[in-house]
């Protein structure tokens, strides 16, 4: 199939090299196997109800390959239950995505796990909210059904149920542990609690407004998602973001990475019983947020990136202030790193906790920060750099141990690398416009935006409707790939280490639940 398959590929608008092809059911699966053999990753799956246009449902898969992104599309006649072959055998992370697609669209993969993933009983089983004939403003009373967790049986095995409301200021989700004594035999996650219907909500918005929702898919990745959204819209309207605006976007993205890494390093110290770490790192994070406020005009940059550019320029006083701040931050983080590295108690908790081996990481399709800590070298900024990263040449940061300590080290190294990138960006700030007009996209255009956020690659697939409307917008957070990793990393560890191991991944609930 190789030659024929490749020649059928057409270019798709994106900020990365991206191709697109349409296939039948057999090829749908074959192409997945082929990409898998070539070392490709499944980035995301999404479906679309096009019955109003041509009577069909469609399913799309996006793969990350060495040469860029491949989007494969498969059409389904709308019979009683439109169905497509599951990709979960080849890419295990596809399973939850397929369950979610079923909950929203009523198209099924031929896979036996039909438990609701996003639907917890908040709407009837016969209602599929992403179908075009469903009015998104309809409300239903909750009719929650018990969720059949997989049971582990044996001498002395018991279950611990945690959540959805957790102790601490974190997002909601449910964890079901099967344990013997303190040791975890199995963990099963149940997510979907923060499902807010964002895909349907996008369809009620204009292409211009969509960025506000994109920034709020996962607040800690606001810059990454709003950039991915802007990139997708710019790709389908053939708008070129001015160089100065691209620099400012990258500066904002690196600040977002810094803030999250600082916050995580503090929390990880705290979860390992070293409150001093939390105090120090939370102070550094607060300092950075205040610098954001005085330079970008906000602590969190939710509405900074807009299609065509950015909302505001740096004030003239910003560059020296930022450089001073980077200097102090670098010095502080270096000395904290020495303290963390030499603290026997901390290292005892970090090392060999929550190990995700490279083999397992590859098999499960780990991406982003958690993947890099298990020796999976994937970083869009390095592999497929879009402007201005092509000039900056970021370093790929990896570790091989795959334990909590490795995820800590990746964060430390990425902080120093981000600071280097920020300095390069500031040294190279050519004057110029920060915004150009982004026209309305012609109806029926599909484009992809992909940005390496602090957690991993975030994706927006945007299809335009008539008169500046959004026909379909699919957002994908790397947490989809990485949540299942946690179920493996915890095996054989003790329950009291779960908060630490969970924090070392720090995955998004909201970004995943949608």
């Amino acid at each position: 199939m190789t030659h024929e398959f490749e020649s059928a590929m057409k270019q798709l608008p994106s900020n990365l090299p991206c191709n697109h092809t349409r296939v039948g059911a057999v090829r749908w699966r074959q192409s997945a196997e082929r990409f898998h053999t070539d070392g490709g990753r499944l980035l995301t799956l999404w479906g679309s109800d096009d019955r109003d246009r041509d009577g069909l449902f469609r399913i799309y898969a996006a793969y990350l390959l060495k040469e860029g992104v491949a989007v494969v599309e498969h059409e389904m006649e709308h019979g009683t239950t439109p169905a497509y072959p599951s990709l979960a055998e080849t890419f295990p992370c596809a399973l939850r995505m397929e369950r979610a697609i079923h909950d929203l669209l009523g198209i099924t993969s031929m896979e036996p796990d039909h438990r609701g993933w996003l639907r917890h009983g908040g709407w009837p089983q016969t209602v599929f909210p992403l179908r075009r004939d469903f009015d998104g403003s309809q409300q239903f009373s909750v009719n929650s059904q018990p969720y059949p967790f997989v049971q582990v049986e044996g001498d002395g095995v018991h279950e611990i149920a945690v959540g959805p409301v957790h102790a601490g200021t974190i997002e909601p989700g449910h964890f079901r542990f099967s344990v013997v004594g303190e040791k975890v035999l199995r963990l099963e996650e149940r997510l979907g609690y923060t499902h807010k219907g964002v895909s349907k909500r996008f369809e009620e918005m204009s292409q211009k407004e969509g960025r506000h929702l994109a920034a709020r898919l996962s607040g800690d990745s606001a810059v990454a998602f709003s950039w991915a959204y802007a990139a997708a819209l710019e790709a389908i309207t053939q708008t070129a973001c001015p160089p100065r605006a691209a620099n400012l976007r990258a500066l904002a993205l690196e600040h977002e990475r810094l803030a999250n890494h600082l916050g995580d390093l503090g929390a990880l110290g705290n979860d390992a019983g070293f409150a001093f770490g939390l105090t120090q790192f939370s102070r550094m994070k607060e300092d950075l947020l205040r610098v954001n406020l005085s330079t970008f005009g906000a602590r969190y940059l939710f509405d900074f990136i807009q299609p065509g550019g950015v909302a505001s320029d740096l004030p003239p006083s910003a560059p020296p202030l930022l450089l001073d701040h980077y200097h102090v931050l670098e010095e502080n983080v270096s000395s904290l790193r020495v303290i963390y590295d030499n603290h026997a108690g901390l290292q005892d908790r970090f090392r060999e906790s929550g190990i995700l081996s490279q083999e397992m990481a590859e098999k499960l399709g780990a991406i982003g920060l958690a993947g890099r800590a298990s020796g999976v070298p994937l970083d869009l900024r390095v592999d497929h750099p879009c402007s201005p990263y092509d000039r900056l040449q970021p370093k790929m940061i990896t570790q091989s141990a795959g334990d909590v300590a490795a995820r800590v080290q990746v964060r430390f190294d990425e902080i120093f690398e981000s600071l280097r990138l920020c300095r390069m960006l500031l040294a190279d700030f050519a004057p110029g416009p920060i915004q150009t007009e982004c026209s309305l996209a012609e109806p029926g255009r599909l484009g992809l935006g992909l940005i390496e956020g602090w957690r991993g690659p975030v994706l927006i697939a945007l299809e335009s409707g008539p008169d500046g409307a959004i026909r379909r917008c699919h957002a994908h957070d790397p947490s989809w790939q990485n949540w299942p990793l946690l179920e493996y990393a915890i095996l054989g560890n003790i329950v009291p280490d779960f908060p630490l191991i969970n924090k070392s991944f720090n995955l998004s609930y909201s970004g995943h639940d949608g």
């Binding site: 709407w123 929650s144 102790a167 800690d220 606001a222 120090q280 994070k285 030499n342 909201s510």
Partner: protein, 168 residues
């Protein structure tokens, strides 16, 4: 150990006494004093994320950094609603969290207060109401105060807690 101690000494005490950006509003120190006087150093808060984007969580977590130092003033985030005086609720209430939110409120002993945080908690924000979202927290449980902002600053959250407790 020497490193740790020397860093502690060099960092010093950072808890702030500066006025908030809006001159008319009280200072962080003033807010903390008020709270201490009313509560005698013991306000217990339970946070519930009812479907937020996690942005509001970041600013609530900031309340415990050394600049705002909430715990240092006797305001504690507690692990169980049964130990709480006040629920701090973020997010539009997703239908999948509706039941859990109501149950959490039921578990809080009387008298209890509810503060809804962020544009989402106050009015549904960018998500609004839909098949998956009930919108504002007040659509699901009684709310005493709301804090707008997306996300609201830590000082704004602190002020709302104070005004809920004072009943003003």
């Amino acid at each position: 150990m020497i490193n740790t101690l020397s860093r502690m000494i060099r960092t010093g005490i950072l808890t702030e006494t500066f006025p908030t950006p809006c001159a008319a509003s009280p200072s962080v120190e003033g807010l903390q004093k008020d709270l201490r006087n009313i509560l005698g150093r013991a306000l217990c808060i339970r946070h519930v994320d009812a479907g937020s984007c996690n942005g509001c969580e970041l600013e609530i977590q900031a309340l415990n950094n050394p600049y705002y130092n909430l715990e240092g003033f006797g305001i504690k985030f507690v692990a169980s609603p049964r130990h709480a005086d006040l629920l701090l609720v973020t997010g539009p209430v997703s239908v999948n969290m509706e039941e859990a939110l109501k149950r959490t409120l039921d578990a809080v002993p009387d008298p209890k207060l509810v503060v809804a945080v962020g544009d989402c908690g106050a009015c549904g924000g960018v998500f609004g109401t839909s098949y998956a979202s009930r919108g504002a927290v007040a659509n699901v449980i009684p709310v005493h105060r709301t804090v707008s902002g997306c996300p609201p600053s830590p000082v704004a959250i602190l002020e709302a807690i104070r005004s809920a407790v004072l009943g003003v």
